[in-house]
């Protein structure tokens, strides 16, 4: 159970990115976050693992207040929250396997990890995760030799190495073509359905939301505009979320 209570974020310089946002996510739920660019989707996701410090409000996960966690506790919390990014955010000069193993950094002995040494079990796990997204044969290539779709699958494998209970996906398919987009979304769906991982995924295309999400929330200029089933987003709601001049595509 993830509870977001009155979450507010004001950036230095006064930009109000989130304004009193509250909602809850049930375990095993696939939640889509929609809204225009700049509506606060990325900020919201990054507040949950505190890559961005919220200004006000609480995030309560399994009874623990994430916003009040100390730095050490935060490291423990973060390793249970996997994250997937629009631009994949792989270390392009490192090998694929190293990128995937980076997902274990929160678990392994820090001193050994600095020497680039991981336990055998983690190595096996990394190969397994790569097999799961069917790119195990690319494991020893440099990350920037891979295509966009492959890179995003490495990103998923890295997140899965954390044995996460939550996955935060920040527009995971926005830089991919429609075919790849579906394949990546299917991987996320598998993770959600088979492993029971809660997924919070920001998306641009409503058809993807309809197809994959159990529930959707919508943000407009930092305010929560909608919270409910994707089916309930009719034309009127759509105009509310995206503005009066918006037209539906796809």
């Amino acid at each position: 159970m993830l509870e977001i209570k009155n979450l507010t974020k004001v950036y230095e310089g006064g930009t109000q990115a989130l304004y009193d946002v509250s909602f809850t996510v049930k375990p095993g739920e696939f939640l889509a976050v929609i809204g225009l660019s700049g509506s606060g989707k990325s900020t919201l996701l990054r507040c949950i693992n505190r890559l961005i410090e919220p200004t006000d409000g609480q995030i309560i996960w399994n009874g623990q207040d994430i916003t009040a966690a100390s730095q050490d506790e935060m490291l423990r919390i973060r390793r249970k929250i996997g994250m997937i990014f629009q631009h994949f955010n792989l270390v392009s000069r490192s090998r694929v396997i190293t990128n995937v193993l980076a997902g274990r950094l929160g678990y392994v002995n820090p001193a050994m990890s600095l020497l680039n040494h991981f336990p055998k079990s983690d190595m096996d796990m990394a190969i397994n995760q790569l097999e799961r997204v069917s790119i195990a044969d690319q494991a020893y290539k440099r990350a920037d030799e891979l295509s966009g779709g492959q890179q995003q699958r490495v990103g998923i494998a890295r997140a899965m190495m954390q044995e996460p209970e939550i996955i935060l996906a920040d527009e995971p398919v926005a830089s991919l073509d429609p075919v790849l987009a579906h394949s990546i979304m299917q991987h996320l769906e598998t993770i959600n359905k088979e492993d029971g991982v809660m997924v919070l995924c920001s998306l641009h295309f409503l058809d993807l939301v309809h197809r994959y999400a159990d529930r959707a929330i919508a943000l407009n200029e930092g305010k929560l505009m909608f919270d409910g089933s994707p089916k309930d987003i009719d034309d009127a709601r759509f105009k509310e979320i995206y503005g009066k001049e918006a037209e539906r595509v796809g």
Partner: protein, 607 residues
């Protein structure tokens, strides 16, 4: 509406600007003593020609030469009672014929030479009784070795005996040989290149960790509340002191053991095994998740034990390196430098071990204290935190200012406790107290930015002092020679590279950094996994570039006694030995352009 200014005003403005520029340049000409008259001076032009011609013939190659003298007797003045002997010649050997064999000063005589080297130019001298050469002129033979020359007899004291007119031919008897200058130039240029190499290596090694402290994007995120900040300020000096003491005591305890080679070897083998065992036990016994206090205490004890053993092992290695180095230097003969290297490494580590121990202990205790402060600030109620701050911050301020006071006392020798200790400590405590009152107890302060600014300031200050100036100080410390030069270059390299490196860190992509942070990696792990891969190749290219600069700098650092080829160059310039200086300049040009080429090739390969 965009109204144009009146054109008259505009042109007036332009005129004024042009006029100002002219005035500025005129003043510049005055200040820099521009004097074109001197450039036309006859004497200076002759000198310039001479020097340029000397520079054009670097003193690199010479030949062994044999002089052949062809002479005829000559009487100056003509003897009154003696008969003049006219030498006889066979037609095959070289000989001279003169129009007269005696005469008085100022007479013109006609000299002819036969069978000399064809097409050869050489001197004809009047050789006095005491062996002094008075030049009569130069001869130039034709294709058959014949020449003729009219010469005026020199004005000499009258001598009764025969003196000589001598034509000299020099012939090379060997192939080209390197001159002594060339050999010493070669030695010094090698010294120069290695000075640059050492300086770059030392500078780079230190610059890499420092560059992370001077990178804004990494440091910005480090925020800590006042409690944590004050605690770690208290912890650092305490740790450094403890570290110094520990290193000292370990050395005292271990020294008797190191006097026996067998014990030393035993310690060297036993030490790492012990470390391995202790670490294995602690790591396997603890899961990273939840830890009891007892568990944690054991872990800390184990780490301390490991550190102590590690220091002991390093001292063993150091003594071993010293004694082995000392013994093998002689027998190794030509490769004796390897023995010396071992010995010097041992010496260097006897300096470095206490320093690293002190810094390491300082860092550990500082961060443990900081963590305690962080935890207090995170968990305790605001009121308690405030109370802790009211004690902690003044103490930290007092310690910080007292240390600064001690530094000032050392530099200026004030030796007045109330001025260097009590007053600064009091002021520091007061500042700490005020901060503890003003600042909200749990507010996160930008500690990282403070460290960043201090590092940057120190780096900029160090960088602005030229290595030539630094060399002067190092020459006083370690004596005239290449070691002083290397140290000066190393210090400058450290400052310059740390800045360049840190700018590279600042320009990395934030995405991967964010992604690795999101996995729950700590800061060190984030640097190793997200930052380092992104900066390896620019670091290498900057280092190569810096080596290049260091080679160039080390060629002139000898001017202030820093060793290398600059020493020779300066000496030759002062002795007006321009041919020697030319050889050294040539060597510098060759090495610098070679370095340029090599570094560009390596950089291309690396990136």
């Amino acid at each position: 509406m965009n109204k144009k200014k009146p054109s008259l005003l505009r042109s007036l403005g332009t005129t004024l600007v042009v006029f100002l520029v002219i005035v500025i340049f005129a003043y510049g000409v005055q200040v820099t003593n521009v004097n074109f008259e001197t450039t036309r001076s006859e004497i200076r032009l002759t000198q310039l020609t001479r020097v340029l011609r000397a520079l054009a013939r670097p003193d690199i190659i010479e030949y062994d030469q044999v002089e052949t003298n062809i002479e005829i007797p000559f009487y100056l003045p003509c003897p009154e009672d003696q008969e003049i002997l006219i030498p006889e010649h066979t037609s095959e050997e070289a000989y001279l014929v003169s129009s007269a064999y005696c005469g008085s000063a100022g007479d013109i005589i006609h000299i002819e030479g036969y069978n000399l080297l064809p097409n050869y130019k050489g001197p004809v001298n009047f050789v006095t009784a005491s062996g002094i050469n008075k030049p009569l002129g130069d001869f130039l033979t034709d294709g058959e070795g014949y020449f003729q020359l009219d010469a005026e007899l020199p004005n000499r004291q009258p001598v009764e005996d025969a003196q000589h007119i001598r034509a000299t031919i020099k012939t090379r008897v060997s192939g080209p040989k390197l001159t002594a200058t060339a050999k010493s130039t070669w030695e010094k240029i090698i010294e120069t290149v290695f000075m640059a190499l050492l300086a770059t290596a030392i500078g780079t090694a230190v610059a890499i960790p420092v560059s992370f402290l001077a990178a804004r994007n990494l440091m910005e995120e480090n925020k800590s509340p006042l409690t944590s900040m004050a605690f770690s300020i208290i912890g650092w000096p305490l740790g450094i002191y403890l570290g110094l003491q520990t290193a000292h005591w370990i050395r005292i305890i271990i020294t008797p053991i190191t006097e026996n080679l067998l014990y030393t070897l035993g310690g060297l083998i036993l030490g790492p095994i012990l470390i391995y065992l202790v670490l294995r036990m602690t790591i396997s016994n603890s899961s990273t998740d939840q830890e009891t206090v007892l568990n944690k205490g054991f872990k800390i004890l184990a780490y301390i034990l490991t550190a102590v053993i590690a220091i002991a092992v390093f001292i063993f290695i150091e003594t071993l390196a010293r004694s082995v180095g000392n013994t093998i230097t002689e027998p190794l003969g030509m490769f004796g430098f390897l023995g010396n290297f071992l010995y010097q490494m041992g010496e260097a580590s006897s300096l470095i071990i206490p320093a690293i121990t002190a810094l390491g202990t300082g860092a550990v205790i500082g961060s443990i204290f900081g963590k305690i402060g962080q935890n207090i600030s995170d968990k305790a109620a605001a009121k308690i935190v405030k109370t802790v701050n009211l004690f902690g911050a003044p103490l930290a301020g007092a310690i910080l200012f007292a240390l600064v006071g001690a530094g000032i006392d050392w530099l200026y020798q004030i030796q007045n406790l109330s001025k260097t200790l009590f007053w600064p400590a009091g002021i520091g405590a007061a500042i700490g107290f005020v901060l503890a009152i003003i600042i909200a107890p749990k507010r996160a302060l930008p500690t990282g930015l403070v460290i960043y600014s201090i590092t940057r300031t120190i780096l900029n200050g160090t960088r602005s002092v030229e290595s030539l100036v630094m060399a002067i100080v190092f020459v006083i410390w370690v004596g005239i020679g290449p070691f002083a030069g290397s140290l000066a270059l190393a210090l400058h390299t450290l400052a310059a590279l740390a800045k360049l490196y840190s700018e590279q860190v600042e320009s990395i992509l934030p995405g991967p950094l964010e992604a690795v942070q999101a996995t729950g990696a700590n800061q060190l792990q984030t640097i190793v996994y997200a930052v380092v891969p992104q900066i390896v190749s620019p670091y290498i290219s900057f280092t190569m570039y810096r080596w290049d600069i260091n080679v160039r700098m080390s060629t002139i650092i000898g001017f202030v006694g820093g060793g290398g080829i600059g020493f020779l160059l300066q000496q030759n310039i002062n002795l007006l030995n321009y041919r020697g200086a030319s050889a050294q300049m040539l060597a510098i040009a060759l090495v610098v352009s070679l370095m340029d080429y090599i570094s560009s090739v390596v950089r291309e390969r690396m990136i």
